[in-house]
């Protein structure tokens, strides 16, 4: 073996050792967040309890809502206690990044610009704008030709209706003071939460997406995997749908 080959091999092994060391460090970092939660015996969930039906305080000061139910399921699957940390919406990400909380679950829209620091779970709710109706003849957006759609004046639903008006002939808009009033009419555009809360209207189509997900620190991939496992289990078993009906349909 020539001296040059010996050097090449030596360099290769040094690089391999550095790479393996780095992988081991990353793995330890990823596991350490989860290990810390288990050692502590409690999962700290950050939320802003002012957003029913996702999270709000009941008459006893307890956090209730869809997010609270999901957090409880995640903590149960991890075998730890659940601790809610109530924080103003603006401070949620900071609280996560300084490790004041382990995760956020707070009607939180997925923000791709935060992916350097934050990792999101699989989506669990779409709060985007929805076309709903109680009429059987409205099956597609194109069926709105010549129809009147009710919206909350000035809202994002109104924005979607005005957009549709540019492509669908003779579509009329019926502006209402709020989303609930819009649901009194046969065809309406409302946000996903309002749509799911109304059992008499059928969802025709989501016109825009506003996905909610849980968020963890980007280093905490082991916890993220556990959260996703719980969400997937709840989706498959139908528990997610039941909870949504219970909390949002209330």
């Amino acid at each position: 073996m020539t001296k040059r080959m010996q050097w090449t091999l030596a360099l290769f092994f040094v690089a391999l050792i550095i790479w393996l060391g780095w992988r081991a460090y990353q793995h330890r970092q990823a596991q350490s967040g989860l290990a810390e939660i288990k050692q502590r015996g409690a999962l700290r969930v950050g939320l802003d309890a002012s957003f029913p039906p996702f999270e709000s305080l009941d008459e006893n000061g307890q956090v209730v809502g869809l997010d609270a139910d999901l957090a409880r399921a995640i903590a149960d699957d991890l075998g730890v206690e659940l601790e809610f940390v109530n924080i103003g919406f603006d401070g949620l990400y900071d609280a996560l990044l300084i490790k004041r909380v382990d995760m956020l679950l707070s009607g939180l829209p997925v923000d791709p610009y935060r992916s350097r620091d934050v990792a999101y779970s699989t989506n669990y709710f779409n709060a985007g704008q929805v076309l709903v109706t109680r009429r059987d003849d409205i099956q597609l957006v194109d069926d709105l030709m010549g129809q009147t759609v009710a919206v909350e004046w000035g809202s994002l639903a109104d924005m979607e209706a005005r957009r549709l008006q540019k492509t669908i002939p003779n579509l009329q808009i019926n502006p209402q003071p709020d989303a609930q009033s819009a649901l009194q009419f046969d065809i309406a555009i409302v946000d996903g939460v309002t749509a799911l809360g109304n059992q008499q209207m059928r969802i025709v189509k989501y016109l825009s997406d506003e996905w909610y997900a849980a968020a963890v620190s980007v280093e905490n991939s082991a916890l993220l995997a556990e959260i996703n496992k719980t969400l997937a289990r709840m989706q498959e078993s139908g528990e997610m749908e039941r909870l949504q009906e219970k909390r949002i349909g209330e």
Partner: protein
């Protein structure tokens, strides 16, 4: 011979570095389109744009075109010092040229916010809102260079932003006298560069924070402090932030309430100090229609309040312009902040844009 080659290489490297640092003149030409003018029933109407982080030239042009089409002749825009002078004395005007030229071509009047200190002008581990008193002249250099470059294109500048908040004052205790010193330096340097430019001071955050508060000082107390320190002679006009929060625009003013008509108290304070003729420009303000933010109103209310505010502003003889926050963000904030805008990041006009446009074009009389 070898020495000559080495020297040549060094010279080439220097030349290339110089070219890179002064690349402002080498940007590809951009079609600004024909000269436009704003059609509006209200010549005081404006919006605060957010083009600082907008990279693509066509988006800058289209944003300003939409402002013009809405019927707002005024825009407030931020021109951060740190972005223009990354190295001492070496200016990159490429981005600000795009904004200024496009705004001018759309027939808009620009109020330029100047601030945000570069790293080289402040101590390590300080924030861009920090500037030591001994470095005020460095900021003055930037002000002079900006005003000189945009003579005849930018007639109004605002010195710093919300200095009555510790966050905007480098996390130091807020200090109206120190801000007045900064304002005086900027005023002198701006006037030396272009005597016609109008220097606006203040741009204070409306807040009720009492003296001694860790984070802020009541804007009225702060303004009095500025005037006591001589700020009245170091500005041609006052920039005011007028947020309505949950109150309608005609909600009566009171010292212990933050609402739109707090602007009247600001004018009154100027009057009491002998500056009643000083023009006021509202350079931020408006309402938010987020579904859950505690300071938000319903979307329909936001439309009504906004149009009423534009109308009310015309009744204040001491008010020269009213620019509301914010026309459009380059990307979604994914927080309540998104519900301040008139247009989405994808340029989809929100209903408020269309209603304000109808008002500005005389189609509604609310």
């Amino acid at each position: 011979m070898r020495k000559i080659v080495h020297l040549s290489l060094i010279a080439i490297i220097f030349a290339l570095t110089g070219l890179l640092l002064t690349r402002s003149a080498s940007l590809p030409p951009f079609d600004l389109g024909p000269q436009q003018s704003v059609t509006t029933v209200n010549p005081e109407m404006g919006v605060h744009t957010r083009l600082t982080d907008e990279v693509e030239a066509w988006k800058i042009k289209y944003t300003l075109q939409m402002v013009r089409e809405m019927g707002a002749p005024w825009v407030v825009e931020y021109f951060p010092w740190a972005y223009r002078e990354k190295f001492p004395g070496i200016f990159d005007w490429s981005h600000s040229d795009l904004v200024v030229q496009n705004a001018n071509r759309q027939g808009l009047t620009i109020i330029a916010r100047l601030g945000y200190a570069p790293e080289w002008a402040r101590p390590a581990n300080s924030t861009p809102s920090f500037l030591a008193a001994e470095d005020y002249e460095r900021f003055g250099d930037y002000v002079a260079a900006f005003v000189e470059r945009y003579r005849g294109q930018v007639d109004y500048i605002i010195v710093w932003n919300e200095p009555n908040l510790a966050l905007e004052w480098g996390f130091q205790p807020v200090d109206p006298a120190a801000y007045t010193q900064l304002l005086s330096v900027a005023y002198r340097r701006a006037k030396e560069a272009n005597p016609q430019v109008q220097v606006l001071g203040g741009a204070l955050a409306p807040t009720l924070a009492p003296p001694g508060d860790e984070f802020a000082l009541n804007d009225l107390d702060y303004l009095q402090g500025m005037l006591d320190a001589g700020a009245g002679d170091a500005m041609d006009g006052l920039a005011v932030h007028a947020y309505g929060w949950v109150y309608p625009p005609d909600d009566p003013p009171a010292p212990d309430v933050v609402n739109f008509r707090r602007t009247e108290l600001v004018h009154q304070l100027l009057q009491e100090n002998g500056y009643g003729d000083m023009p006021i420009h509202i350079t931020e303000g408006g309402w938010n229609d987020h579904p859950r933010w505690t300071r938000a109103v319903k979307p329909g209310q936001r439309i009504e309040y906004t149009i009423q505010a534009y109308q009310m502003a015309q009744e204040w003889p001491w008010l020269e312009s009213i620019s509301l926050w914010a026309f459009r963000y380059p990307w979604p904030a994914k927080t309540y902040l998104d519900y301040f805008t008139f247009v989405t990041p994808d340029f989809i006009p929100k209903p408020i844009y269309e209603e304000v446009q109808r008002y500005a074009h005389g189609e509604i009389d609310k």
